[in-house]
């Protein structure tokens, strides 16, 4: 049953592995490779997922200061196969799975603690712009989630439409306004403006820009939607005792949690009745006690943000504010760098890069390493970071903390 875990067993895994290296591709440069610095055409076919993943891995290895031969475990994300990824990268792993970033992190914690491997590379590449991948409309595929395709006879296959419907329900139930929601897109764009690698670097928006932007699936405006761009991400997780002697300050994985709401998911019940919050509640009962922190200790927060509302719902669900208070809570710079709870400080998937949970991890690691010290982008004195993943009710979360040298 969801939410029931053996906390004493979970707590033994606290700080047993650490992130030692991170790498990403050149999101902005690749996106703006069109004529006169414009976005490249969808379907241009110029980039390849494996090439992007390999570039990110090389950078993560260099960042960690280790050789590829040290890698004995692999997590493969995005549209790549595990076999071909290992073949292209020249790695015969002793343990290998596929998954998104948080599934990969949790699996790596398990595998390393089980003694199956000690140094895991987590790699992702997705040439989704070059390949013109469809996430809505008649060409969409279900990706294992039936609600993404089931309502095609009635003209709805849009993932954005499903989240917009959730936001409408939030509006009806709590009086949340579009203008309140606009604070998310504005804040993430502001963060992207501090990040030269962000696709939307140098393109800040105001709340007026947001309100005047066109609707795609009302109440969602254009700026509530994530980007579609090409990119790759990689990071290296290692057994914590080995990570102590590394090049970088290790960033520990201190808490993990997982809970799913799949029953009645296609008829949208957990979305429209509960905003997926029972899953948030179950996860927060796992990872905060495991990491020995509370919401108040979280210095920097990142959420999966294919749409702006992910932040609104998860801040309520994880207890940063009360049910229905999210709209008011995210105002007045509270979610911006310098605010009470800086969220998606790289610009997230709305404004940095749509790396489907992957780009959030290097950003949290760098914030906790204090890599941006001396710039406006650094969350001052950041000690604890949280990533929240909630994709169609599959909720996973990770707490990172600064480790020891």
């Amino acid at each position: 049953m969801a939410g029931v875990v053996e906390l004493d067993r979970l707590k033994r895994l606290k700080d047993t592995v650490a992130v030692i290296g991170v790498g990403e591709t050149d999101y902005r440069e690749d996106y703006r490779a069109g004529a006169r610095g414009n976005a490249t055409e969808k379907g241009s076919g110029t980039l390849n997922s494996y090439q992007l993943a390999a570039k990110a891995l090389k950078r993560a290895l260099d960042d960690a200061g280790i050789d590829k031969s040290a890698i004995d475990g692999l997590v493969v994300g995005g549209p790549m196969s595990t076999e071909r990824t290992c073949e292209v990268l020249g790695i015969n792993a002793s343990w290998c799975v596929s998954g998104d970033a948080p599934r990969g992190i949790i699996a790596a914690v398990q595998a390393i603690n089980a003694g199956l491997c000690h140094t895991v590379a987590l790699v992702y590449g997705n040439a989704q712009r070059s390949m013109d991948t469809a996430y809505g409309g008649p060409r969409v595929t279900d990706a294992g989630i039936l609600s993404y395709v089931y309502y095609a006879p009635w003209g709805m296959t849009s993932q954005g439409g499903l989240y917009s419907m959730m936001f409408r329900r939030h509006q009806l139930q709590y009086g949340t306004t579009e203008e309140q929601l606009g604070a998310v897109a504005v804040a993430f764009r502001k963060h992207a403006s501090m990040n030269p690698n962000a696709v939307m670097y140098g393109k800040p928006i105001t709340i007026e820009d947001y309100m005047e932007s066109r609707y795609i699936s009302a109440p969602f405006h254009l700026f509530d939607y994530c980007l579609i761009n090409d990119g790759g991400v990689a990071f290296i997780i290692q057994r914590a005792d080995m990570a102590k002697d590394g090049k970088n300050l290790p960033i520990n994985v201190s808490g993990i949690g997982w809970s799913e709401l799949d029953v009645d998911s296609t008829q949208l019940r957990p979305r429209l009745k509960d905003f997926y919050k029972p899953a948030h509640h179950a996860v927060r009962e796992q990872l905060y006690p495991m990491a020995d922190v509370t919401q108040k200790d979280v210095d920097v927060y990142a959420t999966y943000d294919s749409f702006s509302t992910h932040l609104l719902f998860s801040l309520e669900g994880f207890g940063f504010c009360g049910d229905g208070e999210g709209g008011a809570f995210i105002q007045d710079g509270r979610i911006e760098i310098g605010g009470e709870i800086p969220c998606n400080t790289s610009g997230g998937m709305l404004s940095e890069s749509y790396m489907q949970s992957w780009n959030h991890q290097p950003e949290l690691i760098r914030q906790l390493r204090h890599s941006y010290e001396g710039t406006e982008r650094q969350v001052q004195g950041a000690q604890v970071g949280q990533y929240v993943h909630d994709v169609a009710g599959k909720c996973l979360s990770v707490i990172y903390t600064r480790g020891d040298r």
Binding site: W154, R168, L272
Partner: protein
Amino acid sequence: MDPFATEFWDYANQREFRMQQCDECQKLRWPAAAVCDHCLSPDYSWVPISGKGHVLSWIVFHRQYFPEYPALHTAVAVELDEGPIFVCCMPKEFEETELADAMPMELVWEESHDRHGDYVIPLFKPVGM
């Protein structure tokens, strides 16, 4: 299409709005599936559904995704009196109707056709309009 969904559409073509009910524990399920998600029984009957419900949420597409549904296109989630949430759309003449929370809705059948041929599709419209 999976065989259970096909049965739903076969009934729809007869203008019958039915959902599966478990023969063992009587749980109603939607969408159609092979077994009861409560007791895993494979035995079920297609029982008639009243076609009455109320608005839970809706969205308006300002961008066209399907040739059959030019913008503006409204998708609506109707909570049926029997319990399940039925996501669908309204007949064209109701596309711009102002919807409201908990507004009563009722089933209406519409004939249509696409490249696969003719079909009958269940839609919902505001009661009394």
